[in-house]
């Protein structure tokens, strides 16, 4: 085979490619390139914290305020074996004290994730889901993620919760945040 033959073959392939594409079966998955966690599949195993190649995981907890109940006794904030409902360390669920609680109105408190401190362990997510609305969930942060072609967390994820998403919708929300007029 000479160079000319190869070029001719390549040209033929390029010409036929669009026709071949017409007969191709359509796949359901893999419409994007960027890794993301499907919060409905996530089981909060804690691997996101440890498996990421970054020194500090690109996965962090996010809070969807629109579906939060603003509970006084937040099950994502307090741990199960709490002694009292106060802000002492032994009562907290977050190991790095990354949930900031501020008073809003009488029985209601706002919970905010301090992203500098959050390590993506998913403990609060599990807590919120066990008793509350599930407004806390884990997401891969686009500014931190290196987008490895083979994500190590995805490889280790027991629930197959890592999916590829397109660039224009890089996050998966629990439920689309409601716009209140």
């Amino acid at each position: 085979m000479t160079r000319r033959d190869l070029l001719r073959l390549g040209f033929l392939a390029v010409i036929t490619a669009p026709f071949a594409a017409l007969f191709r079966k359509r796949g359901e998955t893999g419409t994007g390139y960027f890794w993301q966690i499907d919060p409905d599949k996530c089981v909060q195993c804690g691997k996101c914290e440890t498996e990421c190649i970054l020194p500090q995981s690109a996965v962090k907890c996010v809070h969807q305020y629109a579906s939060c109940g603003y509970c006084l006794f937040c099950s994502g904030y307090y741990q199960d074996k709490r002694i009292e409902f106060n802000t002492a360390g032994e009562n907290m669920r977050c190991p790095t004290d990354a949930i900031i609680r501020t008073y809003v109105e009488d029985p209601y408190f706002e919970y905010k994730i301090d992203e500098e401190r959050c390590i993506g362990c998913g403990k609060c997510v599990k807590g919120c889901l066990s008793f509350g609305n599930g407004s806390l969930f884990l997401q891969v942060r686009r500014d931190l993620c290196k987008n490895c072609n083979e994500c190590r967390i995805a490889k280790a994820c027991p629930a197959d919760a890592f999916v590829r998403v397109p660039a224009d919708h890089p996050y998966i929300y629990r439920k689309p945040p409601e716009v209140k007029s």
């Binding site: 089981v43 969807q64 686009r142």
Partner: protein, 407 residues
Amino acid sequence: MIPRLPLLFAAQARFPAPEFESYTLPKMSLEELASDSVLWRVLLLAVFLAAGTWFFYRLRSRKALLAYSVAGLAVFGFLFASCPCPVGMFQNVAEGLANGSYIQPGVLLLFALPLAVALFAGRVFCGGACPLGAIQELLHWKSVFIPRPLDRILRLISVLLLLIFSVCAIYGIGFPLCYLEPYLPIFLLDFATPFAILSAVFLAAGLFISRPFCRYVCPYGVLLRFFSYFSLLKPQITSHECVNCRLCEQGCPNGAILPPEGTGSTSEHRSGFRRISMLTALIPFALFAGGLFGYFCAPVLSSFHRDVRLVRELDAGIKSEAVEAFESTTTTREELRVRAIKLQNGVLLASTAAGVLFGAVMMAELIAEARRRKEEEVYTIDPSLCFCCGRCYAACPLERKEKHHEK
């Protein structure tokens, strides 16, 4: 342990959002993707490849090519995090083509650009635009010459890996190359144990064996080798009349420089003819052996797939995290089992086909090796093996003299 209650808030929240008097909900602050860095990478890659071609064919300077490697390592290795790189893209392309899923144009360009350049100018990409090639180029100390037959046999490993990794990508087993790539821990400065050991082994080997990954492991290198065989520009050691001093052959650590071959004696002709007819007779056996090898590899490959592993754990009654996660979904065991069996059958077929293909490639390589080359009176560069490092330009005394005159 906290019991996993069924999620009800899709219908209604357990705790409906309170109605506040003077409090507005804070906005969720999730940063969008700033820009799709893949296209930038393609642009930069094009610039690099153009520069590399110019350095290698026009400047013919070892120093410029070294600078090219350093720049490639800095930019593609460290500055941009090394993923996605063209080396691993064949997996994405194979998956996209086989499953009919969408392939990003950036991914396709990253895959095709070095191959297109190889068709015109050889493996300029390997010389320095590839961060993996660049790090091996720079971290090479003393060359250990690998005998030609051993070299040709060892490089069949890369063909085998290309086939296996393509099967893995097509059937959703994963992208093993990106997972195991030995230089990735260095670029990401992440030295977790099992992966860092592999990179240490490859770095240590690279000190003595030039480019161990490129020559014997890199699956993308197989494609580059094929395309650069038809390269339009052929590298020439010197434009002067070669004095057959052998310095370039000794200076090339990659075994890409072929010595002149004479006409040979009649007995050599006869033994060569016998060798080729023997190899041709062996072809059916090689194909069969390859197919058998692929057939027996298939269960190993499919055992890395999530569904197959899950079925195995369910059958064995292991209470792993994956089993627990599976039980909280709505998929039934039968559905999972059907999926796993379908996958196993697919892998079995593909793996056997890949084995047959490997047998064919192996025989083709062996016959190509046994065949007589075109008669040459001078030392020539094999463009499919040349990594465009420019060592031979520096070693050639005629070339040095010319450089000296130019100054």
